[in-house]
């Protein structure tokens, strides 16, 4: 009897705790989503409103009038997209090279690569700022692409290295015995087998650069301003329009949540830089 009672309590407790956890996690997100559909009067109501007349006014104001978010959206997409493509392609090549090479300084090389990923952003910004000023990369999408490569490239090399090291060695040897060149073995055998790794790498690179604020606010000008910078500037320009702000917040967050959760199975691998294998 007692065991039965204990185990049924043991079965209920996790769910009770889970509800608390979900409240803590989801209330801010849902409140952002709900507020983005409120009129300014409803957003600024001193008692929180759950019943209100939903309106698209905040979203419409984002794409009309003085601050057209579409140009920021374009800059965000270009800067993070191009940086992701370059980082992932070069990361595949270098990650494979690193995984298959066997020289004495390999450990040091690997450490140097990853330490560039760990450098504090505030410190990295300074020399890049001066360099970009010289090279006229300030206020260009290409400046942001280069800045994002500084963290995406080492990340991609390191992760792809981990995925390539997981492949069973026999298959590649067999291909080589059949007369495939080194590059053919990489291109036709190894690369297709790491497809999930490539997708995960690309998505995480995209999320990191899309969510960047520090580089963008320092290097971007009117011609290359990204969405997170636009969001932060809604606060300083004309007082705070929280309705608009929650709308742009939703626009920034939603795509990343969706693509991020799409590769959930491989996230652990990617986010621990390959140290932990997931589900």
């Amino acid at each position: 009897m007692t065991t039965g009672a204990r185990s049924s309590a043991g079965r209920v407790i996790p769910y009770a705790l889970l509800i608390l956890i979900l409240l803590w996690t989801l209330v801010p997100v849902l409140w952002m989503l709900i507020s983005s559909f409120k009129s300014l009067g409803d957003v600024l109501s001193p008692t929180p409103l759950l019943m209100f007349e939903p309106t698209l006014a905040n979203y419409i104001s984002l794409v009309s009038g003085g601050n057209n978010v579409l140009t920021y959206f374009r800059s965000s997409l270009l800067a993070s997209g191009i940086s992701t493509i370059i980082a992932t392609s070069l990361g595949c090549l270098a990650g494979y090279g690193l995984a298959r090479s066997n020289f004495r300084a390999k450990k040091h090389l690997a450490f140097w690569i990853i330490s560039t990923r760990m450098a504090p952003i505030a410190a990295v910004i300074l020399p890049l700022f001066i360099g970009f000023t010289f090279l006229h990369l300030i206020n260009t999408v290409w400046g942001l692409v280069v800045a994002y490569l500084s963290f995406n490239l080492p990340f991609a090399i390191w992760i792809m290295n981990a995925f390539f090291e997981d492949l069973p060695p026999g298959i590649e040897e067999a291909a080589r015995v059949d007369g495939a060149s080194n590059f053919q073995t990489f291109w036709r055998i190894a690369l297709p087998m790491t497809a999930p790794g490539i997708v995960t790498t690309a998505i995480l690179c995209l999320v990191f650069s899309w969510n960047d604020y520090a580089f963008a606010v320092t290097f971007a000008g009117p011609g290359s301003q990204t969405l997170p910078v636009a969001a932060s500037q809604l606060i300083t320009q004309t007082g705070v329009d929280w309705g608009q702000l929650t709308a742009i917040g939703t626009v920034v967050a939603l795509p990343m949540v969706l693509v991020g959760l799409a590769v959930r199975r491989y996230l652990v691998r990617g986010l621990t830089l390959g140290a932990v294998t997931g589900e």
Partner: protein, 306 residues
């Protein structure tokens, strides 16, 4: 002669072999990485030894000041208070994230029905741009129309301007960081929990060990390695990013939340003391390299890194 030629051609061949296929694959990435990491490193060291000012257009002016910036940094009470705020913020956020992350992972691991959905929902915050988290946090604790400020006021727990008081503002930015990054710890820890052999737990259960005994003697010891990975990943990111505080308080009120990267950014882009900011940056870099060494060292020791 002939043997000489043979030797030299052999040397050439071995040199060509030295630039193997693997190295060739790495070259494009490494060249770019060197250009955007080694050059800036040399440059930031140079900057820390100079007084650097921006001129209009794309020029800079600099004059050699030797170790003046370094001397100034070590006697600058603002820098010290920045490091102090950084250390408190670091310990509070990473500490809370580790504890909460472990607890939440254990809870989700126990849940049988809806486990996948629960995990997906719990992970949402870590995909949201830190800037948005800072702004959203500011909205939620706004004294006149913020949801959380209202809840705290109505429940009689706290009645006042949360971001206006030093302690409450600090607690608020810590909790914003915890909200965003605890999911990462959950995700990593859960991968460790999943890999524990169910037979071992079942055997302990049959032997009469209750949940907390199993937790202490089986579960926690077997996930130590993975928890260390989570700790070190979080530590590095905590040193790296400063967007949440930047947006939520910008270091205020009265510099209570002005962690060292904010101090650096202000020196560089508000007061335009670029050489001095570079000096602060170099010290931050040294700290992060130390942590990175710890990271790879411990992982290698535990065989998690090849």
């Amino acid at each position: 002669m002939q043997s000489d030629a043979a030797q030299s051609s052999g040397k050439q061949r071995s040199r060509r072999r030295g630039l193997s296929f693997e190295v060739k694959m790495m070259i494009p990435a490494l060249v770019i990485l060197a250009a955007i990491s080694i050059l800036p490193l040399i440059y930031i060291i140079w900057m820390s030894l100079h007084n650097v000012t921006l001129l209009g257009g794309s020029g800079i002016e600099s004059n050699w000041t030797g170790l003046d910036n370094w001397g100034r940094m070590f006697t600058d009470s603002n820098v010290w208070s920045g490091w102090l705020a950084m250390i408190i913020y670091f310990v509070a956020t990473v500490g809370l994230e580790m504890v909460l992350g472990l607890v939440i992972a254990l809870v989700i691991h126990e849940v049988a029905w809806g486990k996948n959905l629960a995990l997906s929902l719990v992970l949402i915050p870590m995909f949201i741009a830190p800037v948005i988290v800072g702004l959203l946090g500011r909205f939620l604790v706004n004294p006149t129309y913020g949801l959380y400020a209202w809840v705290l006021r109505e429940s009689g727990l706290y009645d006042g301007n949360i971001l206006g008081g030093s302690v409450s503002a600090f607690v608020a930015v810590v909790l914003m960081d915890v909200w965003e990054w605890t999911p990462l710890v959950v995700l990593i820890t859960l991968a460790g929990l999943v890999s524990i052999q169910p037979q071992v737990l079942e055997a302990a259960r049959v032997d009469g060990a209750n949940y907390f005994e199993r937790l202490r003697h089986i579960v926690l010891p077997s996930i130590t390695g993975i928890v260390i990975v989570a700790l070190l990943i979080r530590s590095m990111d905590a040193l790296r990013y400063f967007d949440i505080i930047w947006q939520a308080t910008n270091g205020g009120p009265a510099n209570a939340t002005k962690i060292i990267p904010l101090r650096l950014y202000e020196s560089a882009f508000r007061f335009f003391h670029l050489g001095y900011a570079a000096t602060i940056g170099l010290l931050m870099l040294a700290v992060s390299i130390l942590v990175a060494n710890l990271f790879t060292g411990i992982l290698r020791q535990r065989g998690l890194l090849k």
